[in-house]
């Protein structure tokens, strides 16, 4: 049977991709951020996942406002990264796992999560950068992938509690998958930041640190927040913590913290990375 080995949640700021491309990992600005991934790499070397299910939010590469799904899931053999408007080099393509995708789709829709299914899906920096952070210089990528995209572009956004429930449903579906697979859950985005409006540059360290703690011990306390409250406390784009909640929910109730790093700022963003394992309870 498939088994969830744990979760990694991390920020996905586009500027990280630029830093990786230019080899700036040990520059003073970047070092406190990139060094925070040593613990992630050690853990990944140990657990060696076969496949990653990735909760992320598309920023206008694959989806436009003409057709914008609230929840979408990839069901392709391959996912390509592409130019998002800044002419940055694209990351190499990611292998899919269509069989697992369709198992998840069957299970999620039966569980009343009516997903948009995508057989042709470009994945943007929010998907690609975390992969490059988890497996630097990997070629090919060591895991197959299933992307799950959550709308954070256009309101109304799905409620935090709904994203949490989606993650729980994904977790149950994986545990019921007959193939002998080690599955990693990834959630990307955040932590607090705001790009737009006169409050641009807003960062809330206290709220982030509280979330990092509650995600381990009592995630439902965060899942209770309204979108309006999340935006007030974490900034307009800090609402990306929805992806962290979905990822956390897939792990089940009881977890063990493996690793964490938090650093301000990367570009406009308070960056965070968290590694959790399900714990036998």
């Amino acid at each position: 049977m498939a088994r969830i080995v744990g979760m990694v949640t991390t920020s996905h700021v586009p500027m990280i991709g630029k830093a990786i491309g230019a080899g700036l990992q040990q520059e003073p600005y970047w070092k406190p951020f990139f060094d925070g991934f040593d613990g992630v790499h050690d853990w990944l070397d140990r657990v060696k996942p076969d496949v990653a299910v990735v909760f992320y939010n598309d920023h206008g590469l694959n989806f436009f406002l003409d057709k914008l799904p609230t929840f979408a899931i990839g069901a392709a053999e391959t996912y390509r990264n592409a130019d998002e408007g800044w002419g940055l080099p694209a990351f190499s393509p990611f292998r899919g796992d269509p069989e697992l995708s369709w198992h998840l789709i069957e299970s999620l829709v039966a569980d009343e999560f009516d997903m948009t299914t995508c057989q042709d899906m470009l994945v943007d920096h929010a998907f690609a950068i975390p992969m490059a952070l988890l497996w630097p210089n990997a070629s090919p990528w060591p895991v197959k992938t299933v992307p799950i995209s959550v709308n954070t572009i256009q309101h109304p956004l799905p409620r935090a509690a709904r994203c949490y429930a989606l993650g729980q449903s994904v977790g149950r579906a994986i545990e019921a998958y007959p193939a002998d697979l080690k599955v990693l859950i990834i959630g990307t985005g955040g932590l607090s930041h705001q790009l737009d409006g006169r409050r641009a540059g807003f960062i809330n360290k206290e709220f982030d640190l509280m979330c990092l703690e509650k995600l381990v011990s009592s995630p439902l306390e965060i899942a209770r927040y309204s979108i309006a409250t999340l935006i007030e406390e974490a900034g307009s784009q800090g609402v990306e913590i929805l992806m962290w909640l979905a990822a956390r929910a897939a792990l089940g109730e009881s977890v063990r913290k493996v690793h964490m790093n938090y650093h301000i700022p990367i570009s406009n963003t308070a960056s965070g990375v968290l590694v959790l394992e399900p714990s036998e309870s």
């Binding site: 500027m15 920023h59 206008g60 590469l61 436009f64 406002l65 003409d66 592409a82 130019d83 998002e84 408007g85 800044w86 002419g87 572009i153 256009q154 309101h155 109304p156 705001q194 790009l195 737009d196 409006g197 006169r198 409050r199 641009a200 540059g201 960062i203 809330n204 360290k205 935006i231 007030e232 900034g235 307009s236 784009q237 650093h263 301000i264 700022p265 570009s267 406009n268 308070a270």
Partner: protein, 107 residues
């Protein structure tokens, strides 16, 4: 405008502008915009307010006219501006002061 919410009303108002910005995922379209900005805006049917905001490179005015920050970031990229530059512009700060404010949030 402290914290804009991109809802249905904004999405309706901003559709043409956002559609133009979405087209900038393609390098050829970025080049076409740079060749003849006015013609490119006309092609997407931008409103007067949207056209004026783009012409002035004014991000708050673009948001006011229905622009969504994720799409606007693609337009800003054409002018060589990143999210820190547009953060500074929206808050009326110098880039240095804006960056210092971000760093200070970590203290």
């Amino acid at each position: 405008m402290d914290t804009p919410i991109f809802d249905g009303e904004q999405a309706l108002k901003g559709y043409a502008l956002n559609k133009m910005c979405y087209s900038f995922n393609d390098a050829q379209n970025r080049a076409a915009f740079l060749r003849d900005e006015e013609a490119y805006c006309n092609q997407f049917g931008l409103s007067e307010a949207q056209r004026a905001a783009v012409k002035r490179r004014n991000v708050l005015a673009m948001i006011e006219a229905g622009g969504n920050i994720y799409y606007l970031a693609k337009l800003a990229g054409i002018f060589g501006l990143n999210v820190q530059d547009i953060g500074a512009q929206q808050t009326g700060m110098s880039l240095e002061a804006f960056k210092a404010k971000l760093a200070a949030a970590g203290n």
